[in-house]
């Protein structure tokens, strides 16, 4: 064992400029153009659904960053300390991502291009027959209230935990750390109970007559995998650019373990939802998979499983693969695309069905939000040093070895 002798500069700050900045700005411009193209060509609903997909994805990845930080604090994990600033940057962006999601949902809701399976507002009224309680649950006011309250709560914790970490940099001591554990615990309880509802509201209610109790965890699994993949990508790219020299193959290995394990978890939940519906064989439930089992969607149905299950299993299974930076980077990028497809398969078949497609709108909106994510995360990353130097587990993280 023995202390690892290091001479790292923990006060090093990331400066957001150059190629990363211009590429992310180009992405945002492409996104805006694609949205404009969508609205001009009359594909309003399709554009809205793509906006919903990507803004939900964006908020989910940021929430996953916050969830990661909270889990590390509650578990009192040491290995991740030296890379904690990356998920922290995600959680600092969460308020911004939340606002975008609320704007998209509100605009879509009141322009009737989203959630028209329950929100008819008189026109063609009576087309849906819900029980009074469901009618109340899916009223626009209560719906938006839930969304805003949940996202505001998550955003508060995202802001507060990163503030505690910055205080720790300045004052040192254990006070911030202990407070972080306490607030992380509270956050995890709130998050655990509300994420399924968040998923039910934002995504599942697009097909309001169909419901699945597995859906919340299914979305959570997708959020966690894509979040871990995004964290891995950012850490690896930062390392490749010469930052964070203290990140070694053992840290990469741990990130790879998370990406691998939760890809299997995602598959488990996906299959649990599928098997229950397949086995019970009730028409009001099977209609969900029936729509995803024909025409345009059938190949995508299988592609979803191939990318999100088969590729991590086959590529990331071995220890060596998880420790190789380029392999993990490749799989993470694949999974980011794979979970885009996963969300696509949740959203499109039940809404625009046959009229869905893959073209300028899909690619453009994806690139737009990728640019927005890169821009906002990297600028919040550049506001604080790249390592929480006074964190009590810093030394353990530097000596991490598995």
């Amino acid at each position: 064992m023995g202390a690892h002798h290091h001479s790292y500069n923990f006060s090093e700050q990331f400066s957001f400029s150059g190629k990363a900045k211009s590429l992310s700005l180009i992405g945002i411009v492409i996104g805006v153009l694609a949205i404009a193209y969508g609205f001009v060509t009359g594909a309003t609903e399709r554009t809205f659904l793509n906006l919903l997909l990507m803004s939900y994805y964006f908020a989910c990845v940021c929430a996953a960053g916050l969830f990661f930080c909270a889990v590390q604090f509650v578990a009192q994990a040491g290995w991740s300390t030296s890379l904690l600033r990356v998920p922290q940057a995600f959680s600092k962006v969460l308020p911004f991502a939340s606002i975008i999601l609320v704007i998209v949902v509100t605009a879509g809701l009141f322009s009737h291009n989203l959630y028209n399976s329950w929100n008819h507002h008189g026109e063609g009224g009576g087309a849906h027959h819900f029980s009074p309680s469901k009618e109340f649950y899916l009223s626009p006011a209560f719906f938006l209230l839930r969304l805003v309250v949940f996202l505001a709560a998550y955003s508060f914790f995202g802001w507060f935990l990163s503030k505690l970490s910055v205080n720790e940099d300045i004052h040192g001591g254990l006070k911030s750390y202990e407070k972080s554990i306490k607030y992380s615990t509270i956050f995890l309880v709130i998050f655990g109970f509300t994420t399924p509802i968040w998923a039910f509201d934002t995504i599942m209610s697009l097909e309001a007559h169909w419901f699945s109790t597995m859906f919340g965890w299914y979305n959570f699994a997708a959020m966690w995998v894509s979040g871990m993949a995004a964290i891995s990508i950012v850490v690896i790219l930062l390392k490749k650019a010469g930052h964070m020299p203290w990140i070694r193959d053992s840290h990469i290995h741990n990130l790879g373990l998370f990406v691998f394990a939760f890809s299997i978890f995602w598959t488990y939940i996906w299959f649990a939802q599928f098997l229950l519906i397949y086995y019970a064989n009730m028409p009001e439930e099977t209609v969900y998979f029936y729509k995803r089992w024909e025409g345009f969607y059938l190949p995508l149905f299988w592609l979803n499983l191939i990318i999100n299950f088969m590729s991590p299993v086959l590529i990331l299974m071995s220890r060596d693969a998880k420790r190789k930076v380029n392999v993990l980077l490749g799989v993470s990028i694949l999974l980011i695309c794979g979970h885009w497809l996963d969300y696509y398969m949740m959203i499109m078949p039940g809404t625009i069905g046959e009229n869905a497609g893959f073209g300028i709108i899909e690619i453009g909106v994806f690139l737009g939000f990728a640019g927005l994510f890169t821009f906002s995360v990297l600028s919040s990353l550049s506001k604080a040093p790249l390592a929480p130097k006074n964190h009590p587990f810093m030394e353990e993280s530097l000596n991490h070895q598995i």
């Binding site: 064992m1 023995g2 098997l275 086995y279 019970a280 064989n281």
Partner: protein
């Protein structure tokens, strides 16, 4: 040659033991094995321990479970006594997946336990064989095969220099708990 079979260097500090390994390796003295009461990071690399083949055992046991489950279900549900369950085809693969998965895990886990016992010579009724009892409590032990070295005093000196608190010259390979 003397009757000494193994030389044991007992350390009470893991860092000094790691230093002792370096010293011995610098002098080209082969180390038979090292016993520690707790896992020590990086020791496998230092000793050049080969990658465990446990993964291969796990795979073989697991795939046995997969085939057992799948063929049993195929035989009973499809071939021998087909039944109509909810109007689904007899060969309904999604229904087979959970049990196939469970049996894969079960066979794998039991197989790994068996492999562990086999590899460590832990059989019911057999006293475990250990080279130094205190290696399971508070001593970090380097074992050197006495027949593979020319000069045992050199080894003793190297171990002492590195900080060994005790050096044993054992005429038997194992002491047992009996």
């Amino acid at each position: 040659m003397s009757k000494i079979k193994y030389i044991l260097g007992l350390f009470d500090d893991p860092d000094q033991m790691m230093h002792g390994i370096d010293k011995l390796q610098e002098n080209k003295i082969g180390i038979y094995d090292v016993y520690t009461p707790m896992p020590i990071h990086g020791i496998e690399d230092k000793l050049g321990v080969k990658r465990s083949r446990l993964g291969i055992v796990a795979f073989i046991c697991g795939i046995t479970g997969t085939f057992t489950a799948f063929s049993l279900m195929y035989y009973t549900m499809v071939y021998d006594w087909p039944m109509n369950v909810g109007g689904k085809p007899n060969f309904a693969i999604p229904n087979f997946i959970p049990i196939t998965f469970e049996l894969t895990v079960l066979f794998c886990a039991l197989g790994m336990v068996a492999a562990f016992f086999f590899r460590n010579h832990l059989f019911p009724g057999r006293a475990p064989r250990v080279m130094e009892l205190r290696a399971t409590t508070d001593r970090f032990v380097i074992a050197i095969d006495a027949n593979a070295i020319a000069d045992s005093t050199q080894v003793d000196n190297l171990l002492k220099e590195a900080g060994a608190v005790e050096i044993k010259h054992n005429e038997r390979k194992y002491v047992s708990y009996e």
